[in-house]
């Protein structure tokens, strides 16, 4: 097995990881929201007063994407496991 020791490609892998963290979290949040959104629209059509609570429910899964983003930010800015070899 080839050992990857090139600093540039290690940094690249970090960036790919960061991208995956945010991107996949986004997909997950979207999938969560789709069902809730459809249901909320249905309820609001029947009872407009539910809009606020519906919005609240719909925005709940949004936190997921922020988690993904937090991981990305840590990867890109705060986490330097290869600090010895990587100099971005």
């Amino acid at each position: 097995m080839a050992v990857v020791a090139d600093a540039g490609s290690l940094y690249g892998l970090l960036a790919v990881g960061a991208g995956l963290a945010t991107g996949l979290a986004g997909i997950g949040a979207g999938m969560g929201e789709q069902g809730i959104g459809a249901a909320v629209v249905g309820v609001v059509a029947e009872e407009p007063g539910f809009l606020g609570k519906g919005l609240f429910l719909m925005l709940l899964p949004e936190t997921l994407i922020i988690f993904g983003l937090a991981v990305s930010l840590i990867l890109m800015f705060a986490w330097t496991p290869f600090s010895g070899i990587v100099t971005p």
């Binding site: 606020g52 919005l55 609240f56 709940l60 949004e62 922020i66 983003l69 937090a70 800015f77 705060a78």
Partner: protein, 674 residues
Amino acid sequence: MSRVVVAGSKNVISPVVEKLHELRMLHIVNYNGSQPQFEMGKPIGKAKEYSEDLIKLRSVTRYLELNKKFPDKAYPESQVLSEMDNLLNNVGADVTVTYERIVAIDAEVKSKQDQIKVLTPLAVLPLPLESYYGYDSLATFVGTAATPVDADVARVSPVNEVYSGSAKNATFVAVFVPADKAGEVSSVLSEHGFSEISVPRLEGNVDSAIATLESSIKSLEGEKVPLQKKLADMKKQYEDLMLATDEYLSMQTRKTEAPLRFAETANAFVIDGYVPADQFGRLKSELESAAGGKLEVSLIADNEADELAEKGEDIPTQMDNPSLVKPYELVTRMFAIPEYKEFDPSLLIFVFFPIMFGMILGDIGYGVMAFLTMVLLKKKFKTPGWQQLINVVQISSVWAVIFGIFFGEIFGPLGLWGKVMGHLHEHELEAVKEAGLYFGEGVFGSLGRIGFWPGIDIFPLDRLASNAVLLLIGTSIIIGIIHCSVGSILGIKTELAYGEKKHAYFEKLPVMLIQVFFGLLVLGLVMGQMMLVIASAIVILVAMVMLVMGPEGPMGLAHLPFYVSNLISYLRLLAIGLASVGLAFAANQLAFYVVMPMLSGGATDSAEFTIPAIIAGLVVLLAVHFINFLLGILSPFMHPLRLHYVEMFTKFYSNHGGGVEYSPFGHVRRFLKA
């Protein structure tokens, strides 16, 4: 709010209802028929006539497609009354007749168009239209067939006439056979994929029939145009008067049907309700004078009122905020009306929401544009709900400008700010980058860069620089801790107001401690202060023990990840801001460093750009900035809203199920003069 009971003689019910309607003070609690000695009240006066008139009027307004709108002028009641008869009968009948004629014309045109659709393919058959119908001894089949039918028809019915022709990828056939062979021929035809079309009963050849139909469609359409214009004119002429009449009739209906909400005996009526405590005296004196003494308005003692509330009667809430905070009641109302004893969070939204909005958008250019857009919208949308919403965004966009100054952004970082306010020189920039203290390169004109600590000049902060990102992560979390803690403190207060000490001290308090000391713990880790870390950890452990002792027992601990994730959720303040800055930055780069040089044949100096390249670049620039501007109003609005609804309100608000808004019996006149 004071709980009151109004009891009086039935003789005076009309003047009392009239007075109540005019005062708009009493929030009526509907009588639910639970007491055997009282009955539900019956409508008074001309209730039936009013509601019939209202239905008549509503159907006319529907024909005219009148919508609720902001009134252009108000009418005195006497004018409405004097014109109502004419409006309902003459104008109403005229509108109805005109509208029905238009509907009939539409139906006729539709049927003629259908006939044309059927006739067009028949032109391929060499027969005049009258030969398709009117036979006693002949059966006719006209339609499309998939395969030739002549041979098979001749087999079952030697006497026959078959015509065929093809048009539009289909074969049309007309088959005439003796009536007694109809059954057999029909089954033979169906084997050939025959599907029948019904020929309209017209005369002459097909082309002239189509021409006749088309000309009559044209004349019908011609008849429709003046009718539509007539309706439009009538709408213009009567719109306000009709809406005023609608308002008058609705008011009358509500008044005459009000007794349905009262309790009644043979000779008396009783109204239950709430009135703001300071207005009880006025209500009492006004009602008593209106009823000439045949009425008693009494106040229910607080402890009895509390008992009623415990039995499930909702005490209405009237939100009372200074005019600057008023628009934010909209945000509160969208979630839930506060209960009577609950804290009204509008004030908190007023404090936090615009700051969050500003922090996310944080751009002078976008802020000013948002403000101006709202000024325009304010003229267009005049209903109170819209006005409130627009005010909310307007106040927020001022904060966006303020943050824009801190972030040094005018339509994105670096570009315009550098031109207007200047930026660091090459060598200064190098020095800052060398020291790892790069927070941006803009300056405040001759003031240079400004910072809290000597040597570290943070502002104007370039949000895309990595130091700035780390700084903003911290800031977002700190805002989160403050925001959530305020929520928790209010939670403790609310629980105490409801007398739930255990919930206050063992459910809300530990959550607050955990939030604050979680923040301090992370701060300690970052700064390397182990004492702070250990102290915070101890407090968090104590808080966790308190949670276990709380009303939910060990299950209370299960909520811990929720509270921690609440804090992380505030990262969106940074994240969405970054997305917006990124897009603005990309727009500028794309236009000035990609599109313009590329279309000028690789020129690098702006003086060498060709005119078409500059135009194309500007189009790209405007398009991307416009999209970013729209997103830049939408997401900074939605996300702080969510931070309030999800992260903050869950700590204290609406845990007891939401309240009922104080809506006094009466009517706010819009089209009618008082």
